[in-house]
Amino acid sequence: MKVLYPFIAVLALVAVALVGSQISGLQYLLGIALPYLAFAIFLGGFVYRVLQWAKTPVPFRIPTTCGQGKSLSWIKRDPLDCPNNKLEVAGRMFLEIFLFRSLFRNTKAEIGEGPQLSYGSSKYLWLFGILFHYSFLVIILRHLRLFTEPIPLFVKVIEFGDGILQLGAPTIYQTDLVLLGAVAFLLGRRLIMPQLRYISLPADYFPLLLIFAIAVSGILMRWVFRVDIIAVKQLTDGIASFSPVLPDGIGAMFFVHVVLVCTLLIYFPFSKLMHMGGVFLSPTRNMSNNSRAVRHINPWNDPNIKPHSYADYEDEFREFMVEAGLPVDKELPPAEKKEE
């Protein structure tokens, strides 16, 4: 059920695009107006969400320490897993953001008779996660060829590298296949693994199915329902330079691709996909573990919270304290002394 609705939603988007591509007024709407709107929502929404996080203070210094901290000078410390200064934090964040360091630690626990627990290394999620993200990045960068004129060298280099196998005409991009494979894995584990299946929401399936559909439509456009790439670039480059034109003869598959991509852009800031920004701001990762050496300030620290005072404490227990021979700040009043 949870996978069905997102599936229907993606199919519906495809249908809308196919119909729209046949109607000239809608072509303009889907091919030009929608991309502008989607990009504006993506950019504005992303910035808004990050600013919302920025507005929220970090009251306490709460890094998760994953290695030996700075202690006595002769104890070997772990600067990347337990950073003590900004440079080391930068190192930790680099590993986290670009190499998915924490996910690399992943293990799989199993329980057997005894009971006996065992923990095996499990790097599949890390591997496919990283393949997915980097393929996606390369694909996005490759697409810059359609939005820039002249085309920057780095785009050409990436494109050349991605098609280096020189298979078929047009050349196959490795990242297309890797992306499809990785998304299929990520989707498959949600459907097959009991734990994942139980926690997965429509909001987990939707972006995966959407990205899968985007990749498929892109691949179809290149090999099966081919479109006139020169016309496409006139449209896309026109959009990027704010002088949009709608050339004739752009195939329907292009509109499917565009509608799906725009949906992803619009969906992005409202969804879990915001982890792209959030990973930079996670307080358990981006803070130094130096809270005993450098005081961290909590902007809303309440100075009116006071301990139950020593004076009140002594007032309550003075008699016992004196009797036990414990030092007190105020001696017992003489009257009470007499009673004893």
Partner: protein
């Protein structure tokens, strides 16, 4: 705003990168590619739209047929027969690689590997002169 000194520059970098396509090359005059049309010919082997979209598959197919299967029969277009050949067929009419093929290919950043083996007329001429 907390940690604004880090978050704001971070956001600016993000926006700058995300809008790369907008500011990169802004102000440059956009040239829509105009490949030189052959003089004296009106019909290609396939309709223009199909050639625009799929000429590469046709060439690929021709290559396989001619080189691998030895099927060298000619194709007919507008009452004329053409060789299934890049240099002797296509370029019989579209004489200049530079003024025809390259115009669109460089616009769309396509580097077909036709030219790993084939040579353009200009190059051939250059070679001949050198010899």
């Amino acid at each position: 705003m907390y940690d604004g000194a880090k978050i704001i520059p971070g956001l600016i970098i993000f926006v700058v990168l995300a809008t790369f396509a907008i500011w990169y090359g802004a102000g440059d005059v956009k040239q829509v590619p105009k490949p030189e049309k052959p003089v004296g010919y009106t019909n290609c082997v396939k309709p223009t739209q199909e050639m625009k979209e799929s000429h590469m598959t046709l060439l690929n197919q021709w290559r396989d047929e001619v080189i691998r299967e030895g099927k060298r029969e000619q194709v007919e277009a507008g009452g004329k027969m053409y060789e299934k050949s890049l240099q002797n067929g296509c370029m019989h009419c579209h004489t200049s690689k530079e003024k025809f093929c390259d115009v669109c290919h460089s616009y769309a950043s396509v580097r077909p590997y036709c030219w790993d083996c084939h040579m353009s007329a200009k190059k051939i001429k250059g070679l001949e002169e050198a010899i």
